[in-house]
Amino acid sequence: MTTPTSVATSPDDGRTALAALRRRPGELVAALGVLALGIFVLVDTRTIVVPGSANTLGPRAFPYLVGALLVGAGITLLVGLARGRHGEEEGGEDVDASVPTDWRTVALLVAVFLAHVLTITTIGWPLAATLLFGGSAIVLGARPWWRALALGLVLAVTVQVVFGGLLGLSLPPGPLFESVAVFRG
């Protein structure tokens, strides 16, 4: 919460109470997630095999503690939320708290990232990295689109030559650059 609109720290304020309400579902899910993970940890800990040779404190004790801490934190969070205590979104130099959340950008960034993961082995690291850089820059507002892709390609090839070629990281060059010697360590 950074800018004046973020006076949202005060749920009393009519305008901001609305904003808080809008954010409540997600926060509730986050708190429930903590609680659910805690319950899962407590239940799943019972399946950890305790060998006969185990010391006084076996492999289950610490997980039980962690599960209990998660459950405790989750319950405290839920109680806090019910009383209207909301989390403060983290601020930052480039975070504009006055604009509504742009879910489309987040979804597209995730999609671009997934595409990168899936293509590393098929089209090779340099092209997959070009896709990642160009794609996310365009999603974040880089124009014209071809400049973002060109910059991405230059950056990716540089990284490939420096880290793959010179430092010997085995980044897969992919079919297109397979024959270029400097791209392989």
Partner: protein
């Protein structure tokens, strides 16, 4: 005396040309990532870990030390010129520093911050040189329960004192502890929470978690609320003459020394790290400012000199428990521990004996790095300003690219990059709903060590739980922890009050000066200092129900 001899050996190591180059590379990269929003030293070191496996341990540690120190210097440049601090430790610098920059005294603010950082960094490194071996010698006598007590103290203080909400901090800590559990139990060889996935048998890689939280999470979060349009910076006057006038020196040197005296001890105890130190220093300077007190909130040089020094001194102080006890008290320190471990080195009391040459080379590189930083920083301000102006879409695209590269380079398996995305989404959710990220990292790294200590303690005592509090040290540690908690929560109130006063001033100031801001981004100016105070103010259980300005004035009156 043999410490000095060892330190001289360390200098001899660092003076070799290739290590000097590594140190230069480290401070350079560190300053760059400190200047750039969105990335910090913790993430950079995590990212570089897989890429520096080909270096020898000394070279890698020197690079990481440079990044650690450089990040501290770089942060002040950003907060003075951009007034939207990245790390909480530089919020205070933004309060006064940005006001100075707007009054046309930006160069003086940058200079007092840099020189103050140098003075503090050097004095604190000297203190580290003498304090650390003493602590290490004493720490050798600590038993398993004592270490466990120390770790519990670190957990509680990092979880409850970092960030603004205690329950969210503890939730993040517990998440980190859970991630630390995933993998094969070291004592019994049993798999825990691996979900039958083979790549989880070795545990979730810390590099993936750190990069995912700090890089991918941050990029997604910024993407969700990107501040569009060009980056607004306060122009800095050119030329040596404008850096520091005689008057500025006269007003700065005492705050430098006081900041150091506050920062180093605060850094050594696990009490929330550098931000507590900066706020304490700010409050002290304000109290002692005398005739200049009225300038506070409008650009008082003492308010930059003191906190910046405290910030750097605390950064050195953090190294004391890190090197002598293996106890990380900040996210960056936790990553540095991982860096040591990746070279098979376990920080702890024996480090000064078993890896003596490495440790002293590290300490020597801190002296050298400080010198490099003060030389690099001031003349290169123009370049850092350019770095700050990188278009944000390219900056965050680049962060994503290098994050993906770092994770892929771990095992050259795309699945690591997929896990990175998952952790990134977690980081996004955490940022969005106000869960601090640092406790997660500390919990994940320190968790397995704590479990180890706990189980060994109880194995020795044959299950007798009283062994955990039986030793005087452990009992004292738990007692001090209770005190720290009370003191820490009290300090948070003070911080809020300090921040609130200035944020009040800043909004007055903005209305007066908004003509400077051609682009209608006047609101940007309040955002920096206000973010600090509001983040905390909103979190006070109970006080979160008033409009913030009403809340702030009440805080002040109290």
């Amino acid at each position: 005396m043999d410490n000095l001899a060892a330190l001289l050996d360390g200098f001899a190591t660092v003076a070799q040309p290739q290590y000097l180059l590594y140190a230069l590379f480290g401070v350079f990269v560190g300053t760059a990532v400190g200047v750039l929003p969105g990335i910090g030293p913790a993430m950079t070191i995590a990212l570089l870990l897989p890429l520096t496996y080909s270096l020898d341990a000394t070279a890698a540690i020197i690079v990481f030390a440079g990044i650690y120190y450089g990040g501290m210097y770089g942060g002040s440049t950003t907060s003075i010129l951009l007034n939207t601090p990245g790390e909480s430790a530089s919020i205070v610098t933004a309060l006064e520093g940005h006001k100075m920059a707007r009054l046309g005294r930006g160069a003086a603010a940058l200079a007092t911050a840099a020189i103050g950082s140098f003075v503090a960094g050097t004095i604190a490194t000297v203190a580290l040189t003498f304090v650390a071996p003493v602590v290490a010698r004493w720490a050798v006598q600590l038993g398993e329960p004592d270490y466990f007590a120390l770790m519990v103290v670190a957990f509680v203080t990092v979880g409850a004192l970092l960030g603004s909400s205690v329950s969210r901090g503890l939730a993040a800590l517990a998440l980190g502890l859970f991630l630390g559990l995933v993998g094969t139990d070291t004592l019994t060889g049993q798999q825990r929470f691996t979900f039958g996935v083979p790549s989880f048998a070795d545990g979730v890689d810390v590099v993936v978690v750190a990069v995912g939280l700090f890089a991918v999470g941050e990029a997604l979060h910024v993407g969700s609320r990107l501040r569009h349009g060009p980056v607004h910076l306060v122009p800095v006057e050119r030329g040596w003459r404008s850096w520091m006038r005689r008057e500025d020196w006269r007003r700065s040197w005492k705050p430098w020394l006081r900041g150091t005296a506050i920062g180093f001890p605060v850094g050594t105890i696990p009490a929330g790290g550098a931000d507590v130190a900066t706020f304490l220093s700010y409050a002290t300077e304000k109290k002692l400012a005398g005739p200049h007190r009225a300038e506070f909130g409008k650009g008082a040089i003492e308010g930059v000199a003191g906190p910046e020094s405290a910030n750097n001194a605390a950064a050195s102080g953090v190294l004391v428990p890190l090197l002598t006890l293996g106890l990380p008290t900040t996210a960056t320190a936790a990553i540095i521990i991982v860096a040591f471990q990746s070279y098979g080195i376990q920080p702890g009391p024996l480090l000064f004996e078993s890896q003596s040459s490495l440790v002293w080379a590290l300490v020597a590189s801190l002296y050298v790095g400080n010198l490099m930083l003060v030389v690099l920083n001031l003349p290169l301000v123009g370049m850092w300003v350019k770095v700050l102006q990188i278009p944000r879409h390219y900056l965050y695209a680049g962060i994503l690219l290098f994050g993906a590269l770092g994770s892929f380079a771990l095992n050259f398996a795309p699945v690591d990059v997929l896990v990175l995305l998952g952790v990134g989404l977690l980081g996004f959710v955490m940022r969005r709903y106000g869960y601090p990220v640092a406790p997660l990292v500390v919990g994940m790294i320190l968790g397995p060590m704590a479990e180890d200590r706990l189980r060994r303690s109880l194995a020795i005592s044959q299950g007798d739980l009283t062994t955990l509090v039986a030793s005087p040290f452990a009992a004292t540690a738990y007692g001090v922890m209770a005190l720290l908690l009370v003191a820490g929560l009290w300090l948070k109130r003070r911080e809020r009050a300090a921040g609130a006063v200035t944020s009040g001033h800043s909004s007055d100031d903005t209305s007066g000066h908004s003509s400077d801001d051609a682009s209608g981004h006047a609101s940007d100016d309040v955002s920096g200092p206000a973010s600090g105070s509001e983040q905390d103010a909103g979190h006070d259980p109970g006080s979160g129900t008033r409009p913030s300005h009403a809340a702030t004035s009440e805080e002040t009156n109290r």
